[in-house]
Symmetry: C2
Subunit: 240 residues, 2 copies
């Protein structure tokens, strides 16, 4: 079966080839079977909005494939990107569990395949199985952990250069551990969006990247960044 956006749809979580390395997908078969029965699988094109901040929680979204931009925004129009979620992550989990409104807006930036589970179904599913419930607690803990890292980056780094350096290092470390001396980062966001991730302006990002290139710390190969001097980048991230 092929989705309207040219992707294969993975029919079942039981046979999904990604199962092993995903946080939420490696449940025991019995639980997975129960999950199968309450989930709705959908394919989304790029730019689809899964949910909007302040909405009452409708349920959870499990990314099977693709990536999703999580953002918050202010009445005055400013927006900030909290993170880019990848396959295997569960979105809207905390809102669904606590019943409070979604705290972020989720929008696909790729064609995505996503499993949706309605709130009531999900809560029943949770309360039915301690293992599932514990898994969810673990997942929530990880989320909390990453948000704390985000806060640390935002709050403790007072220069934009430092924050950008941190972001680039984080991206390069995620991008396959294969990175030898010259890790590469495929840029998937515009300068504007990068600015929204580190709380600065578009122009500042452009200028900082230009500076890094001038100092031979970065290099561009099309839309891919090559980190030529990782040590210098680390210096910028730590110190200053």
């Amino acid at each position: 079966m092929t989705s309207p956006y040219g992707m294969e749809i993975v029919e079942s979580c039981l046979t999904c080839k990604f199962r092993a390395d995903r946080v939420f997908c490696d449940l025991p078969p019995s639980a997975l079977q129960a999950f199968e029965e309450i989930k709705y699988t959908t394919a989304y094109p790029e730019g689809a909005v899964l949910f909007v901040e302040h909405q009452a929680p409708r349920g959870i979204f499990l990314i099977c494939r693709g990536s999703v931009k999580m953002s918050v925004s202010a009445p005055n129009g400013k927006t900030m990107i909290v993170k880019i979620a990848e396959a295997g992550e569960v979105l809207g989990l905390s809102a669904t569990v606590s019943g409070k409104p979604y705290e972020v807006t989720a929008e696909t930036i790729d064609p995505c395949q996503i499993n949706f589970v309605k709130r009531e179904d999900f809560l029943r599913f949770l309360k039915n199985d301690v293992n599932v419930c514990f898994k969810v607690a673990e997942h929530l803990s990880e989320k909390y952990h990453t948000v704390c890292k985000e806060i640390r980056c935002l709050g403790l780094s007072h220069s934009a250069a430092e924050k950008l350096a941190k972001l680039l290092l984080e991206w390069s470390s995620k991008n396959g551990e294969s990175s030898k001396n010259e890790p590469r980062v495929k840029l998937r966001l515009t300068h504007e969006e990068i600015a929204q991730m580190i709380g600065t302006s578009r122009e500042t990002v452009t200028r900082l990247l230009a500076d890094l290139k001038k100092h031979q710390i970065l290099n561009t190969r099309g839309s891919t960044l090559v980190i030529r001097n990782q040590a210098a980048l680390r210096e910028l991230a730590e110190n200053n």
Copy 2:
């Protein structure tokens, strides 16, 4: 029984008079009994450090009485206060559940009474009872929620005035719903610490507070702030 710091120690969670209105304390009696058996109750003086960021998680800390300052800090010495936790909150929960290091440092700012539970005991306790496990998931969700609010404040507000206004409003809203037209906020932090909460400098906080007083938005009564013009404060927080 009286602690060395002049406080009554509440002997048992079963008879604790605060039980009803606390997030984690309103478990069914059976679970509470199990909790009783694995907890260690301790009284701490002001300034005691419960745990330090990056430490391996030893277990959870449930505040029965008092308040605790949660902070992160950078190698360069800068520190940022993430939140002030009050009675009823559980600290170190996400680290204990996920096994990752504590993401913040916790230090008492009052004399406190605190229940500690060792990590292994706590995990057993969790896995033994879906209700407990679900409760923990809920609690984690709430934590996630508040951290997101924090991020929104830090990342979306680009002026210090805006962040300070937001902080004051949040404090005044927490401080008893009794607040009529002129809510009061008891200042428990120094200007330095307030600065660390909103990511600015001590002098800026002093100046901003002075400005607010000059514009008749605030008034000081000893160490208590009186918000005389809530609308104006909201304006500052929202707009700008």
